[in-house]
Subunit: 245 residues, 2 copies
């Protein structure tokens, strides 16, 4: 399993992924699920992947080698818009489906992959997409300023309640980490370390890319502090008058 | 879908269920999933059900009519221990599986049912069980003082972080309602009104049974207040020193 989340905020993008892959619970490995393609000052794109590791690695390889679109080979480094970038990622998914889908189906293995692609090109708007296994995609908007792939349920309530498009970028980092921590606690197949990327709107370059390990002091303090804050918060809520003390 | 949660606390039990059932998203109904069997002062049992409604209603009907165990017909009103009560509930599930399972299987419908059974008989310990579709069951302990059935993921993080066996009963009510609210927000097939039962250890009678509607002032205030408290909590968390303001 995997958990990846992308936040689409007025100030920029926050992309966060875990690194655990598993084939059964007794075969666990660490793989980076975050891929960055950038031409600093001109474009920045970040791709997060979930699903079957062979499929998602094949997608990323095809994106790097380039895909034939309208008679020309394109990569994320030369597409003119983020919409075209999402189309290219979808085309890579479809190319892998065409190559591997029949054999996977014959062996009863689902074609399971999902991508988050966020970024900005030149003076165009920053955008964040979720690409499905069918190669089609949706886009985050101000109404729904986050997208998740993989094990999304445990980490969703905090985002539903606290995140808006106007959330500050630094607060977005905190909320993404809390959302990830909720998932880490409940699903063993989502695991540390984490890969975090922060992008500030209008910069066209990676603002921060950081690997967060078990030992990272801030993340440790956040996990501890958040649990304490929640306990204090529910204790401070009034007692219903229909419950006897 | 459904969400039911049972808390097993030193001070007593909190049982909470939603009331939504659905056959597809265009066929939604309201059904009580909480059933109580009590002999005030002698025993109190509360059963919550999730899964296929026809199966769970059949289970409850068989429990009320009584099941033949070791040559005698038993109900929850006459079993001598809570362990026997859980066995009886499991026997009811198996009886329904025997009666309806072959036809369901022939029509490609899963035998989907899960139960929470909490209660206390006489001077024995209070207990809380989760009964599976196979009729076998597990029991909550001081280490894991809550059990969930149905759509359990959205409501689990708050319980993982804040609930312990020593949580006060009134605080347990708040946490169960917060857990339910997180689920209501994310899964349309879990819906109001809610059924809440509070049992105080050693009383052998229902302490409180309450239906909570959309209009219930306390629940409205809790939903609002909890979101505010979370927003304040994450804003108060320190900013990581590796993120530029």
């Amino acid at each position: 399993m995997t958990y990846c989340v992308g936040l689409y905020l007025r100030e920029g993008l926050v992309m966060l992924s875990d690194t655990r892959t598993n084939a059964g619970v007794d075969h666990i490995s660490t793989f980076c699920k975050m891929h960055v393609e950038d031409v600093p000052g001109e474009r920045m794109m970040c791709l997060l992947t979930a699903g079957n590791l062979a499929i998602s690695q094949a997608v990323w390889n095809r994106l790097q080698e380039g895909l034939l679109v309208d008679g020309q080979v394109h990569t994320l480094r030369d597409v003119p818009t983020m919409f075209r970038a999402a189309q290219l990622a979808g085309a890579a998914v479809r190319a892998v489906f065409e190559a591997d889908g029949p054999t996977l189906r014959a062996q009863g293995i689902a074609f399971d992959v999902a991508l988050l692609l966020g970024g900005q090109i030149g003076g165009q708007a920053q955008r964040l997409f979720m690409i499905y296994a069918a190669g089609n995609f949706i886009e985050a908007t101000e109404d729904t300023p986050f997208l998740q792939i993989g094990e999304h349920k445990y980490g969703k309530p905090i985002l539903d309640r606290a995140l808006t498009f106007d959330t500050r970028l630094v607060d977005g980092v905190k909320l993404a980490l809390v959302s990830m921590d909720s998932t880490l606690r409940s699903n063993l197949t989502v695991g540390l370390p984490l890969d975090l990327l922060v992008y500030r709107e209008g910069t066209q370059r990676v603002g921060l890319r950081k690997r967060i390990t078990e030992e990272e002091p801030y993340f440790r303090a956040l996990r501890e502090g958040w649990s304490t804050a929640l306990r204090e918060a529910y204790r401070a809520m009034p007692v219903p008058d229909w419950v006897a003390g």
